[in-house]
Amino acid sequence: MIQPKHQDEKKPFPWHLIVFLTPALLIYGTFSVYPLLDTLFLSLFGTQQGQSTFVGLQNFITLVTDDNWSQAFWNALINNFKFFAIHMLIQNPIGLLLAVLLSSPKLRLSGTYRTLIFMPTMLSVVIIGFVWQLLLSPIWGISENFLYSIGLGHYFDAWLGKEGSALITLSFISVWQFVGIPMMLIYATLLNIPDDIVDAGVVDGANPLQTFWYIKLPLILPTIAMVSILTFVANFNAFELIYAVKGALAGPNFSTDLMGTFFYRTFFGFQLQQGSASMGAAVATLMFLIILVGVMLFLFFIQRRIQRFQF
């Protein structure tokens, strides 16, 4: 892969280059690049009577149209978009609000707030899933009693167990955990805005809301775009939370199934259905394409449109 310039006869062969680059390239190539390419390749094969045969796009056609597969696939995909939408509509605005508040000038204890609010983000998704499962459990009744104490008790339900509310509840748990990431990234950008620009606006008579809307927001748009794409990739890759709280079957009745859990079940099998490496590879390939399209859209459209606002 590395082709040093041989034309330059005076210089000795750059062994140091090989020594510096090979270990990283070897491990990254073998355990990341190769498996990914191999997965894309594998998705074009099917297994019949133990023999692996080339089937072209058949696996994908099966996933999208076959009676046994398509329902589960579309269900997982649509759920995943809902999961992402809730993150975009709730996690990122709350993160933005907290970041703006944290960056207000001369705020005391801002370091403490920052550290404490970021704390759940550090913990494993699995642990967080279990913690909320206990808190929302009707057996323990903490949430129920809390809601009664503020007069909303009759709204309580076993949210995690109901088909209509389980996915939304899990999304909220994930939002609760990861709100620290948009908060931190946006906060960092806000800190880097030079005071002169904001002061100039204030001197020109801008009120705080106008200062935020016309001066700060355009400057943090690139960060918001960055946060959005990070959220997108993380959401379409999510697995742990659903697996911890609801198991691989993503119940009730697959209502919390995401692409990650669907991939896991397809690859390893569940109940009566046997696991299939090639179908698993096909699901992984579709996830890869979805993430790739998202990243590309970000790079080509959002990033370019934002450039206008930069200095």
Binding site: L17, L101, M119
Partner: protein, 286 residues
Amino acid sequence: MTFLKGFLPSSPRHVSKSVTVHAILLAYTVIALFPIIIVIINAFKTRKAIFKDPLGLPDSDSFTLAGFQEVLLRSDFGLYSWNSLVVTLIAVGLVLLLGAMAAWALTEYKFRGNFIITFLFAMGIMIPIRLGTVSILSLMVELNLANTLTALVLVYIAQGLPLAVYILSEFVRTIPKELTEAARCDAVSEYKIFFCIILPLLKPAMATVAVFTMIPIWNDLWFPLILAPGEDTRTITLGVQQFVGQYVTNWNSVLSALTLAIVPVLILYTIFSRQLIRGLTSGAVK
């Protein structure tokens, strides 16, 4: 009034505004911490007290360590923590060393293939490695590495390298050329230049990379579940997941197991939060 506000910090309007800001931040801090605190305090209470008074602190009547005893008796938490520690430390150490070497090579030397390799690493920042799981598993089986910690270490190095190379490359670019050129004039070898001059300079950036690499590895469930689910190679996250799944009705044990998983991370976080937040806010990940 708006104009004067900046000069009159003690105006009533400013005070009320700052009270609102504190109220919102405090409220959110409570929301963020309440669930974790509830779990930790109830882990030290008897079953009866857990249900009767979930919000109360443990007192002399309700205090018990029965849950912890059960967890330590019925599962090998010490081993799980040790496994997690070994995997995380080796993987992070190698990500730092190999990542720094690669970042240095890619930024310092001009050679054919430089662009494509840089691009390959950059792709890895966005494309999650777990999409290649099907092939990773069969590769590990072929290499006889299934159910070993080595498999996890190798995958985590591959997972951590792209971001490490990216952040460290950005940092290498800020090192003045004069330093290395002066060394080359004195006929210092390229290895010595890297290990004796560059590597010490990279320390602050490496601390940032270490934190970013460490957290996902420690918290990961996916690869331990698929590559190393055996009793001997379980990491702490997988161990807790299996334990809670098995003893789901034993509240004392479940709360204690969660507490055992949470507390060490919180202690480490409190120690390193300054470092982590500085890394996040220094613009290293933009």
